[in-house]
Symmetry: D2
Subunit: 349 residues, 4 copies
């Protein structure tokens, strides 16, 4: 950490900073220029909010943190890319992974038929919401436990692992009884107690990016999970909130290369929630894979115009089946594969 003193700071101001730093058991190196003094702070660990503490001391103009706040999620402590095995599926390897399914679990027929259809088209994990966060208290909020049971039936019939959202700590046990991967939604991405509790539950966690979350904050949220001893975290970009209103959110596709530079964790793209409109989903899905994402999460529904939630952004079975060969082709173009589809991609285009 570097403390930049104001040009008008005096010796006394400098001494206050230095003694503050030394009281914390850290070292302070002075660099006295013609215009101003700069103090380098060495030693570790640095208290997480040390810059705030120092920035308000008299004569301090600015404090610059050089080391990163995140640790477990960064490359320094984990130089291999994280691979996560979920039943027979490996996430984070050469193959890209497609998670697909309905926004909400509505009934057994809808869920099982979707599971079969997306599996046949190349998906390897089934998604479906049993507990749904809704902006309005008057909207459909999911089937709850019955939804979890239906997902388990779909898993039994197809062999696909399942992922579903958990919204509050007291639901973790019940959801964990059924799910293979816990999903933490964008609105709960900084619900730290939930992150810690789910970190203790012993299963992989997919953490969606919050609507106005900085990359570093996202990694720090993942850090809450990992600090509980759970190494299996997947990050999922689903669009951020900007001034642009033609899409529901703005897919920040740059998050793929940026996160991959900062962290060893796999990163997915959710084109459905970013677009908010079905017509834009294929372009965003392909863009995500081309940018290097480890996988996609896509909403599919047997009859989107009858869906109880998010129908407008769900693909039909046919639309999904048309899309996966194109995903496979782009994956191969960037030296990845989509195993279930790849062999036939060239033909089907």
């Amino acid at each position: 950490m570097i403390v930049v003193m104001e040009t008008k700071a005096n010796r006394e101001n400098v001494n206050v900073v230095v003694s503050r730093v030394k009281n914390l058991g850290l070292g302070a190196h002075l660099s006295e220029g013609e215009e101003r003094t700069i103090i380098g702070i060495v030693g570790s660990p640095l208290p997480p909010n040390l810059e705030d503490e120092l920035e308000i001391l008299p004569g301090v103009e600015r404090v610059v943190r050089i080391t990163k706040k995140y640790k477990l999620t960064g490359w320094d402590f984990h130089p291999q890319k994280t691979r996560i095995r979920v039943r027979d599926v490996v996430i984070g390897g050469d193959a890209v992974t497609i998670i697909a399914g309905p926004c909400s679990v509505e009934n057994e027929e809808q869920t099982v038929s979707t599971a079969k259809a997306v599996k046949a088209a190349g998906a390897s994990i089934l998604r479906g919401g049993a507990y749904k966060p809704r902006t309005s208290p008057y909207e459909f909020r999911g089937l709850g436990r019955r939804g979890l049971e239906i997902l388990a039936i779909a898993r039994a019939e197809t062999g696909m692992p399942i992922i579903t959202e958990v919204m509050t700590p007291s639901d973790i046990d019940q959801v964990g009884e059924f799910t293979d991967i816990f999903q933490i939604g964008a609105r709960n991405s900084q619900n730290y107690l939930l992150l810690e509790e789910v970190g203790k539950a012993g299963k992989p966690v997919m953490l969606k990016r919050g609507l106005s979350m900085l990359m570093e904050e996202w990694l720090l949220a993942a850090e809450y999970v990992m600090a509980q001893g759970n190494p299996d975290v997947i990050l999922c970009e689903r669009g951020v909130r900007t001034f642009e209103s033609s899409t529901r959110n703005t897919l920040d596709v740059s998050s793929v290369p940026v996160i991959q530079t900062m962290s060893h964790l796999p990163v997915f793209i959710d084109p459905s929630h970013a677009a908010g409109k079905r017509a834009y989903v294929p372009a965003l899905a392909l863009a995500g894979i081309a940018a290097g994402a480890d996988g996609l999460m896509i909403e599919v529904h047997p009859s989107p115009d009858q869906a109880l939630s998010d129908g407008a952004q769900s693909l039909t079975f046919d639309q999904f089946a048309e899309l996966t060969p194109r995903i496979a082709a782009v994956a191969e173009a960037v030296s990845r594969t989509l195993p279930a589809v790849s062999g036939t991609a060239a033909v089907s285009l």
Copy 2:
């Protein structure tokens, strides 16, 4: 609700919309123009996600909701402005209310001395965090129950009601044992299960605006609390996240007149979290009152440069005592009062 059909929509497309609407027990009025047909939907209540359902039907270009999604928070169902009594303090009346205190409760001496200082200077409610949401898992997270006990001591010594944050449903009972007002933080502003549980706890709730929350979403979050039978919700603007980085967040002072147009609920301004820097707090506090806010929430600390959290944005006792007469003067200029200070405002300027 109005359904605008595409210019190329045919009779069949129109019929599908109409029959869908009628199946829901609603009425449909056709207006057939030269270029296109427009369908007006009448009847109530409209399902909350009806526009999504209709927008994806073939031939539909756009759906426009005319009625509002929020009810209990709107003027239509509650034509008087909400006033909330908390012990001897009335929120939402002619007097503006100042809530002040430290970011975190650190110890009894710090909290009680701050309570006395802010009360003497014109504050009427004491704030202080016992449970702190922190971006990093490695930062100080509050004293927990001991913090609540200290707040209660400060209340006993000063007579001021207290407000403190609750972060998760399982803490509500314990926090409710002590606090007079529950605070829901920005990161939990769409933690719907928490909102519902706190709505059942029988005490007023202050709901901070999320970092990227639309006004309507904010009212819908309040609606979650009110739908549990709790009419006493206070909204608190604390800045939204934008591209501008010279302040920690961008205080959206327009939220005061906008919310007052939409809702009967009192609206407060938190200049401390918006600014992130002490030097900007007074200007933002005065702007909030001038815009018509019902109150302010300001961080004050006996020794900000020793604070365990948010010291950079906390005022000293002296700075706070200098500010309150100015707040009183602006309040009077907009036909409000700051009771404890007003009489002396003219003199002290």
Copy 3:
């Protein structure tokens, strides 16, 4: 256009709207519901700011425009996708087009060597700035006319058409003497007089998206050019400004499918300005092509760490030559081609 009256609006309010509309030579259809009256306005053309005029009349709650404000840029008036021929290059067809070159023209050697290198690697148009907009008045602002002459030399040596930015109406003649395509930069994207003047200059125009420009505003800016009789406009997404700071701007890759839904104009992606950092350029370039962009604009410099501007985001010759086969592979995966490279793509991966 639809005028939604307030529930409390009276007959007199409705009459004022109707007579206002009729005075403009338009028709008004009343739809009187139980709760409120809705007025449909028919006839054309609707004055561009009619909604503003009507929205402030007493008793009006909201006005909804149904027809689009843009015309020449929309599909309704131009049902074929626009193809633009620039010397031997066709933009907007099956082949994707790569524009590459240095941020600024610095000297003949730098520009010609770059032109040769990018052509060899698959680019078909040369970019280079002779007039540079700079945030600070103290930065390098380009070589001016000498820069244009150097671009012409590079064109003569390689046969590649050139594109360069024009910043002010009085430079159009001079820039037009040399360039094949005029570039309008993001900061000038709403400089309407410049747009009109460049629209008269008889050459294709590439219009970068402004940092906070809505899609509709972008098309309306293009409309300024097209309204002067110039049909050859290319749109170029180069990132928008958001709260995220790990990239210089946030590439809104969704603009590709959204614009293609709204408009027949070709749309390009500029990954260099969006990323601001070289390391992220390849991922964003590939994402753009996968999303369906008609081309890319990429900064390349013989020695980026010596560049007079934007060195941090420029690729070296080698990096560019490594990237183009990957672009070709992704292009083929989405049923496009990169002619100069495609044949060898499979081999070179």
Copy 4:
């Protein structure tokens, strides 16, 4: 400037940075810690884009600029607050200044009557657009020279100085023939050639903040004007573009204290363009004054529902006359005055 080397940087990497810096005639101080080396760069002036140049050298992790990019607009070179005299009006002193008038000059009667009304109510400068930037090419764009003549007539009748927008360099002479203050609109805030040309024209310039302009960029735009020898620049905040859509833009009231910390230039608030709706204008105007703004720019029209532009946000004469005593009262509460009104403020409330 401080160059932070990567932990894995070697001696050779450090030497490259040092020799690069020395070649520019600057000094380099090495501070070698256990983990990494930090290089302090001293000497002046630092090239404006030096950080970009250094950031891409091998082994460099980050470069931190300590000195500011702006000079003439900063306090360091101009320790007194700028006061600008325009005829009899002084901007930037103890008195706050109200600029008011119609969005567009429509005819003599409209403009002169507005001038008289706003003067009577406390405004001291008349605004009115003769050249209007419009998002769509099909909207009313102002009367041009005839508009300027009408403004001059209004000035002759009332004695009020006038301000009007100039949109392109070739109009500067003509606009300068009439106006007392040049206005540069938000869309032209980074039209650098216009800024330079208007800087040479010898009259005060009001520079509106761009829709996504950082504070530092705003000062650098002002620097373009000041670098031409023109010290009389007024900054005007008019809202920035965010995700919030209930107001046309989001008024960033924090810009008042932030700019006042960075710069000696006067800063105004334009509540009309920020709000976009008349009902919110008073609250934002009062907030701006309370935050310490040096003045306001408010749209007023004799008959807003007949206005050719921006009627929805214009106040009527009566609304403006009701507002100014409230502005005067708030101004006094923050130790400022509104001369024409102040004496009567207490009475009129």
